[in-house]
């Protein structure tokens, strides 16, 4: 069965919808939910790229592994699994610097 979203219907009553920006694109989220949950629900499983270019995503989900670190409003080391979204938040998913770029 295909669903529109990974958000579980009828499990929780959600707060108001808010808009965040991820890599320059608008993404809808709900107040209070973690950045990682909002990105996963939006179909973005890759949260950053390792220095060798390999994609990484949510692993421990409880603030231990730092695999889910994204850049938020200029702060380069935000654990997306622990940090709630805020309306207007600007998120960059880290990428390795490429030569000649």
């Amino acid at each position: 069965m295909q669903r529109d979203s990974l958000r579980i219907a009828g499990f929780f009553r959600r707060g108001p919808a808010v808009q965040i920006e991820v890599d320059g694109e608008p993404v809808q989220a709900f107040e209070g939910e973690s950045i990682a949950a909002a990105l996963l629900a939006a179909g973005r499983r890759t949260l950053r790229h390792a220095p060798d270019g390999a994609p990484r995503g949510l692993y421990c989900g409880m603030g231990v592994c730092f695999e889910c670190v994204v850049e938020v409003d200029g702060d380069p080391s935000v654990r997306s699994c622990l940090t709630p979204v805020r309306a207007g938040m600007r998120i960059q998913t880290p990428r390795p610097l490429r030569e000649g770029n």
């Binding site: 949950a37 990484r56 409880m62 730092f66 699994c81």
Partner: protein, 471 residues
């Protein structure tokens, strides 16, 4: 804020119970927790802004947690959520960061109740997005109301992953199978330990009934061999295991899923205890490295107590009992509760705890990872996820230079990344033990130094001005 008499690190079952008992004896208590809301993993509360709709079994522990949190508040316990404890000093002072600011607290007594993390198991492809721990899946479902994926395979060992699979099914996820590494014959030894554990049997029975109704098979003697996918997980190759968990050649099966949840048990969180120099021992029946403690739950450092999974893996009931003992003992040591029944309450908790620990240790011994699983780790398999260091690099290091995990770390840089070795420590220890033949208890541990987790440099500078005695 003036330092409270007792600071508790961790707001799960152990931390809450400790706080309630100490505050009821009129100690001033502050509970610090890294998450947005108290409760920890077992009592996981919905993210602020979410409210549970309906009365599903998955929420039972969250509801129970809500009551405990309210009990604690009524008893006068203060909470500080979103607080990252990153440092400890020789005089028992702790350093924490909240938001952008760091500060210190100097409580008379400290109770470490920081819980546990999922035990990592490495195999080719385990760094792909879509591969996550069972704990991550649980935090998503119960904390965020979000499914970890659409088609989910679970692999691991022990009863926790059965519980997790049932919760995923109840939340509407498609779970293709649960892979239990043990063969049924290995689990027969469990049966006598369940005598008298009627509540646990009932809960376990409810989970298996949920899985059966959803036609989710539990496959015994099978696990993940490797995974692949373009940009994210799409294929898992599973393999049959022999009694010692060696993969059996020719038994590989490929399945298409977008999510793999790994539930290979838990590792106690001992970082803060180690930072304070508490004596640590290696005990597989308690989950690996654990702090040594006395009957009051006091560690080898006077005034520093430990409770819950951080004291050894034993489940939520044991965590709560240990929390009670630690909270009462810490408060009594401060001269509280004179003429009351604190001593009697400690005795009662201690008797109940003995029963819990007997059960937990028997279970932990059965679900210790068996050595055949090491065959999953090819030379190309990443061990240190932060620094991208492979098993091949580490094996070369071990052969030439080193005999302790800390020496391996210095030479290879494995464990020097952002997570400070929290994820790869047990993997490096296992690899070293395999390479040298030394027992896992004899290869040592990563030296722990502050900050325990990365914090902004500015926060450090604020504190450096008035402190120079960091442990």
């Amino acid at each position: 804020m003036a330092s409270p008499e007792i600071v508790i690190v961790g707001a799960g079952p152990a931390g809450l119970a400790a706080g309630i008992e100490a505050a009821r004896l009129s100690a001033t208590v502050l509970v610090l927790d890294e998450y947005a809301a108290p409760g920890g993993q077992y009592y996981r509360q919905p993210a602020p802004g979410l409210t549970a709709a309906g009365d599903r079994p998955s929420f039972a522990h969250s509801r129970e947690g809500q009551e405990r949190i309210e009990d604690a508040r009524r008893a006068g316990v203060e909470f500080l959520s979103g607080a990252l404890v990153w440092g400890g000093f020789a005089d028992g002072t702790i350093a924490l960061q909240v938001g952008d600011a760091s500060r210190t607290l100097s409580p008379a007594k400290l109770i470490l109740a920081g819980g546990a993390q999922d035990r990592p198991v490495a195999f080719p492809g385990w760094t792909l997005p879509g591969v996550m721990t069972a704990g991550a899946a649980q935090a998503l479902v119960r904390g965020q109301g979000v499914l970890p994926g659409r088609r989910i395979l679970m692999a691991g060992t022990g009863p926790l992953q059965i519980a997790m699979a049932a919760q995923l099914v109840e939340a509407g996820a498609q779970v293709t199978a649960v892979l239990e590494a043990h063969r049924p014959s290995a689990l027969l030894g469990m049966a006598p330990h369940f005598w008298g554990q009627w509540g646990r049997l009932q809960e376990g029975w409810a989970y298996t009934r949920t899985l059966r109704a959803a036609r989710v098979p539990i496959r015994f003697g099978r696990t993940v061999l490797r995974v692949a996918g373009n940009g994210a997980l799409s294929r898992v190759v599973t393999v049959a295991l022999d009694g010692d968990w060696h993969p059996i050649p020719g038994s590989e099966v490929e399945v298409e899923v977008d999510t793999l949840c790994l539930g290979f048990g838990l590792v106690p969180n001992t970082k803060l205890a180690r930072l304070f120099g508490c004596r640590i021992t290696h005990d597989p029946s308690r989950g690996g490295l654990v702090p040594v403690h006395d009957e009051q739950m006091q560690t080898s450092r006077p005034g520093i107590f430990v409770a819950g999974e951080a004291a050894g893996i034993a489940g939520a009931k044991a965590a709560e009992l240990q929390g009670r003992i630690a909270g009462l003992s810490a408060a009594v040591a401060l001269g509280k509760g004179k003429g009351g029944d604190a001593g009697q309450r400690v005795e009662t908790a201690r008797h109940a705890l003995a029963v819990e620990l007997r059960f937990a240790r028997a279970l932990n011994r059965i679900f210790v990872l068996r050595l055949g699983l090491r065959a999953l780790v090819t030379d190309e398999t990443i061990i240190c996820r932060c620094e991208g260091i492979t098993a091949g690099v580490l094996r070369a290091t071990v052969a030439e230079w080193t005999r302790t995990v800390d020496a391996v770390r210095t030479v290879s840089r494995a464990g020097f990344g952002r997570c400070q070795g929290a994820t790869c420590e047990t993997l490096v220890a296992d690899l070293l033990s395999q390479a040298t033949g030394a027992s896992i208890g004899d290869v040592g541990q990563f030296h722990v130094r502050p900050p325990l987790k990365p914090i902004p440099l500015g926060a450090l500078a604020d504190l450096a001005a008035d402190r120079s005695d960091a442990v």
